[in-house]
């Protein structure tokens, strides 16, 4: 099948979309970049424009220097406390760890073989570098940001242009947009909420919440500040007063959401045009709710203290001037939108918690335990366990110009990251960076790892929301409207409502292809007949980053603690009985242990000459290691017994089921 031509066309298309986005970005940036930074605000943040696009390549030397600076800081910490670190983790353990932490899934058999065959120097370093350059990085870190930014994608019609927001964040990660730039563009998003201006989703996400809540979320995500308590009363455990909260929130008082009458008119006309199916009309109505938004700032609009302000009755109901609670004071420039000035202040390296927040968050994402815990509370009482390490990390963040791929790869290439794992419970209080903690996979890692087992080597092409970013949302929709199946995305998938076909990336239900998370009444009849010959027609399994979210309550990802997308969250790894039930019985598990032409786990076994080869293939795929002699023997005995008792069932299914239910699969060292 010749797929090269359309792919080339898409390759052309993507840069043009990004270029449009960049132009839009440049327009947005004017207000920020042109203005004088203000006397009390010495740091001049450069407008990077398109210069940062070269970041996507990830400079190996920068990563090497970064890793060295982390190694030095950690060594100093060990020395200060007289600690002796554990030895390095075995190579295959490192490979599993770093693949899960940077690409969000377990390694494929091919990756395992290639890693072991590579006898060159710096094998680990090069692996880490390749992974941050891979599409898996986009998936895995999109899952983080989708949880923090609460990007909802399951509910088109809520007035938020979700898909363009999603695509924008994925593109920013892929292109490695510097983090400060990323945050500025979100916080100060301006102009029309067109498909190219996905950053507008940040503001539109909170359109129902009001600016107080919007500010509160902004502070939690980017400053790890729990200033939200002061929304309603003086905070008990933090220094913020309710008035100070209002002073900060007042930076958002000018924010104005309107709808573009011209766009509305166009869409209304389109709706009236003849020969529209109900689906097409629903789609146009969705666009009416989502697309005409214009974000602007009404200069000089003030925020007022609440009428029931209890701390000083003279001030109740009066306007509050914007002021910052900490860091450098902003000298308000009346010619500039306040939000843009806030964004500039927020992302300044002089604002210590901005850098510490992201440095600590990403550290936790890789190491498992933050230097400060909880990671979304950097209140002054919350001290870092290893201050010198946090200092080195914030330095690296600033000196790399907030280059997240360099930063992340540097941690993955550091000595402390590669240490062996201690077989004990590690809490923040006990953790001294001398070994690695054993971690349960996140819900998304588990899901994508199961997808990796099912899809084998193809998972590498699948990652990165490839379809999503190769096809502009509009194109995708047009195809959907015409009822055309979208190549590569239709997939078999179960939900509590029964088996259904889904298009992982489609926005609208279409014949034969429905989005997961929809009402059960919309599901199709189960495709599979009863029995072990259950067939799954689908081509691929959608990855966690492609599924419409919030994930429905009670479904697989939800049971394993995927972020709600409702409150700021990185998800949780809490165990439960129902997770055990799911790993044993869920539809997703049945699919994975059942042989089918799509299930690479079984397709790849076809040439296995004997049970030993099968067992080896399984262990490499499930656990990234060779089976022990004991394990081979145990499975051999099982096969014997099965044969002796009449041989009902399928041996390989039993083995796959049992391996999936090993704690060794769920946890990674």
């Amino acid at each position: 099948m010749n797929q090269a031509a359309p792919r080339r066309a898409l390759r052309f298309l993507i840069p043009s979309i990004l270029l449009l986005a960049a132009l839009q970005g440049a327009k947005e940036q004017k207000g920020i970049a042109r203005g004088k930074p203000g006397e009390a605000f010495p740091h001049q943040t450069e407008t990077l424009g398109d210069a940062w696009r070269s970041n996507a390549a990830v400079d190996a030397e920068a990563v090497r220097r970064g890793a060295a600076s982390i190694d030095a800081a950690v060594a100093a910490y060990w020395k200060r406390l007289g600690l002796v670190p554990a030895g390095a983790a075995p190579d295959e353990v490192y490979l599993r760890r770093v693949t899960l932490d940077l690409a969000g899934r377990i390694p494929t058999a091919g990756e395992y073989a290639a890693f072991l065959a590579d006898s060159g120097p710096d094998r680990r370093f090069r692996t880490a570098l390749a992974l941050v350059r891979s599409e898996g990085y986009v998936d895995h870190f999109y899952n983080l940001w989708a949880g923090l930014l609460r990007i909802p994608t399951a509910n088109p019609g809520n007035g938020i242009p979700n898909r363009s927001y999603e695509f924008w964040v994925k593109a920013a990660l892929r292109e490695n947009m510097p983090y400060d730039e990323f945050v500025r563009r979100l916080v100060a998003a301006d102009g029309k909420a067109s498909e190219e201006n996905g950053a507008a989703g940040f503001v539109l996400r909170d359109q129902m919440q009001g600016i107080l809540d919007h500010f509160s979320q902004t502070a939690t995500v980017f400053l790890s500040s729990q200033v939200g308590c002061a929304m309603c009363h003086n905070a008990k455990f933090e220094p913020w007063t309710q008035k100070q909260f209002y002073q900060m929130a007042a930076f958002f008082s000018e924010l104005n959401l309107t709808k573009d009458p011209a766009v509305m008119k166009l869409l209304r006309e389109e709706e009236k045009a003849p020969d529209k199916t109900p689906q097409m009309i629903a789609e146009i109505r969705r666009r009416q709710r989502e697309e005409p938004w214009i974000l602007s700032d009404v200069r000089g609009r003030e925020l007022k203290l609440p009428a029931n302000y209890v701390y000083d009755s003279n001030e109740a109901g009066k306007a509050v001037r914007p002021a910052t609670l900490f860091g450098p004071q902003v000298v308000l420039d009346p010619d500039q939108p306040r939000r843009a000035q806030f964004a500039q202040w927020l992302t300044s390296p002089e604002n210590p918690n901005f850098t510490r927040s992201i440095a600590n968050r990403l550290w936790k994402r890789l190491i498992g335990i933050g230097l400060i815990e909880p990671v979304d509370d950097l209140s002054p009482d919350n001290k870092a366990s290893a201050p010198e390490v946090l200092a080195a990390l914030t330095n690296l963040m600033v000196s790399s110009h907030y280059n997240l791929k360099v930063y992340t790869a540097a941690i993955a290439a550091s000595r402390v990251y590669g240490l062996a794992t201690a077989p004990e419970t590690v809490t923040w209080h006990k953790y001294r960076l001398v070994s690695h903690p054993l971690r349960r996979m996140s819900a998304e890692q588990l899901w994508d790892s199961m997808a990796a087992l099912f899809q084998g080597e193809k998972i590498r092409e699948r990652q990165g929301g490839r379809v999503a970013h190769q096809e502009a949302p509009g194109m995708l929709r047009d195809q959907a409207m015409q009822g055309k199946p979208i190549a590569g995305v239709a997939s078999a998938m179960e939900s509590p409502g029964g088996t259904m076909m889904i298009a992982a990336n489609s926005m609208t239900p279409m014949p034969g292809v429905m989005a997961a998370g929809m009402a059960p009444s919309m599901t199709m009849a189960p495709m599979a007949g009863a029995g072990g010959d259950k067939k799954y027609k689908g081509v691929v399994i959608p990855l966690a980053c492609e599924l419409p979210s919030p994930i429905r309550a009670g479904t697989f990802l939800d049971q394993f603690g995927v972020p709600s997308r409702e409150s700021v969250s990185e998800g949780n790894q809490d165990p439960s009985m129902i997770q055990a039930l799911f790993l044993m019985n869920a539809n997703e598990v049945q699919r994975l242990i059942t042989a089918s032409p799509q299930n690479q786990l079984f397709v790849e076994l076809k040439n296995a000459p004997d049970l030993r080869a099968v067992v080896r293939a399984f262990y490499v795929r499930f656990f990234t290691r060779e089976p022990t002699e004991g394990e081979v023997a145990a499975l051999g005995a099982y096969a014997q017994e099965m044969k002796a008792s009449g041989g009902k069932g399928v041996l390989n299914q039993d083995i796959a089921w049992a391996l999936l239910n090993q704690r060794e699969f769920l946890f990674y060292p």
Binding site: P374, P575, E631
Partner: protein
């Protein structure tokens, strides 16, 4: 652990003290009492064994449902309906519920400081405002932990729909058994029917055998240890006879239609089946009551579904003789503003809202507290979501002042530091 029951003498003395405090010193004094003193006033004539907790997501408008203000401008187009108790009115959409008013106690003076959904619903469910440093257990998790298990096989706490709070800092054993769709409650949790029993059993044996060396090496890690016990529990549940409680297809079509063929109605029906088999606490979370726009259309639509499900549930429980031992609670994280906004909506209003309790341990036909003429603030006998938690705990015969120290050393109370609203308890 056995529930703490107070002797009749103690109770009388405390009730008397509380009564005295209210009459002699007024409400302000009672509210100012340290919570441990207030909590001691818990009544002990508990009748409820189990709880059905109907949580209306998003902030249900009190003015259009449980606390209407006919004739006031703030009421908008919502009409009212007379209940079985003279003088007590409900929003017109709740006609069937109104007929059950003699089994019902209303609380119309709830108020809190939490006006954001996440925080408010967290507080409603746990009795504490959220902290960034720890997760509080849901009140249901406290009950699961401290009330003896009535059914050894079924989980003590089942949550239908989105569970807001779980085990918190308690062991995950007390986390809710979550059901997404009540009609598919066992999807994904029992083996598909086409897999023969013997194959299931054989696989389980293999899984355990292979896992042993791993447990030997990593079994000391807390998470690994937890999963070992959860797998044991999961296997026990898979073999439990009472598992059919989760299967709504065992009900007649008439029964299913009667509750309403929707998530809420079927959730209520599932709740009845579960408490019949002595599950301690079933929560049904449902709805989108966040009516910033078109409040009246949206509330009317949802209240009709609510009314059918709740009405059917109360009637069914009564007919089966279960209502006396079951406490039904209907609540939401906050109310909605008396002011009707430009989009004909109502916004968040934590200053005043309502809840409904019915069945076991509840003084039927009573109304606790009163809001002012526009439902803006409590006028009399204000109560907090913590008081509501404490009331439920007390109605179950448990001690709201039961204290547990979190792993980090901070003390927390089963009733969230609230005082039971004795006035509505039988």
């Amino acid at each position: 652990m056995t529930p703490i029951r107070r002797t009749e003498d103690e109770l009388t003395r405390r009730d008397f003290a509380r009564h005295l405090a209210r009459t002699a010193f007024g409400l302000a004094f009672v509210s100012a009492l340290p919570s441990f003193l207030r909590a001691q006033a818990a009544p002990s004539r508990a009748k409820a064994k189990r709880v059905i907790y109907l949580y209306m997501q998003g902030g249900m408008s009190h003015l259009d449902t449980l606390d209407p203000k006919p004739g006031r401008e703030v009421q908008g187009p919502t009409e009212t309906v007379k209940t079985a108790v003279p003088g007590v009115l409900l929003g017109a959409s709740l006609a069937r519920t109104a007929g059950q008013m003699k089994e019902i106690a209303l609380v119309r003076s709830l108020h809190s400081k939490e006006g954001a959904h996440e925080r408010a619903r967290y507080q409603l469910h746990t009795g504490y405002p959220p902290l960034s440093s720890l997760l509080h257990p849901a009140t249901a998790a406290w009950v699961a932990k401290f009330a003896p298990r009535l059914n050894a096989d079924l989980p003590p706490f089942v949550a239908v729909g989105d569970a807001v709070a779980g085990a918190g800092f308690f062991e995950n054993t007390f986390a809710p058994f979550r059901v997404g769709d009540p009609e598919q409650a066992l999807a994904n949790v029992v083996p598909p029917k086409y897999i023969p029993h013997e194959i299931v059993e054989r696989r389980i044996k293999l899984m355990k055998a292979l896992n042993e060396p791993y447990l030997e090496r990593w079994g000391r890690v807390a998470g690994v240890k937890d999963y070992a016990s959860f797998y044991d529990q999961a296997l026990a549940l898979m073999h439990a006879r009472d598992l059919e409680a989760f299967d709504l297809s065992k009900e007649s079509d008439a029964a299913r239609e009667g509750y309403g063929k929707n998530r809420f109605g079927q959730g209520c029906l599932l709740a009845r089946r579960l408490i019949e088999r002595d599950v301690r606490w079933v929560e049904v979370a449902w709805g989108n009551w966040d009516t910033h726009q078109d409040n009246f259309t949206s509330v009317e639509k949802q209240a009709a579904i609510l009314d059918q499900g709740l009405g059917a549930l109360l009637e069914d429980l009564k007919a089966r003789g279960l209502l006396g031992e079951t406490l039904v609670v209907l609540c939401s994280e906050f109310g909605r503003t008396p002011r009707i906004n430009e989009g004909k909506g109502r916004d968040h209003h934590p200053d005043c809202f309502s809840a409904l309790l019915a069945g076991g341990a509840v003084k039927g036909g009573s109304v606790w507290g009163e809001s002012d003429e526009d439902g803006r603030k409590p006028k009399r006998d204000p109560a907090t979501p913590m008081d509501l938690s404490a009331t439920i705990v007390a109605a179950l015969g448990l001690d709201p002042a039961k204290e547990v120290v979190s792993p980090a050393g901070r003390p927390f109370l089963m009733g969230g530091g609230g005082a039971p609203i004795a006035g509505i308890l039988a």
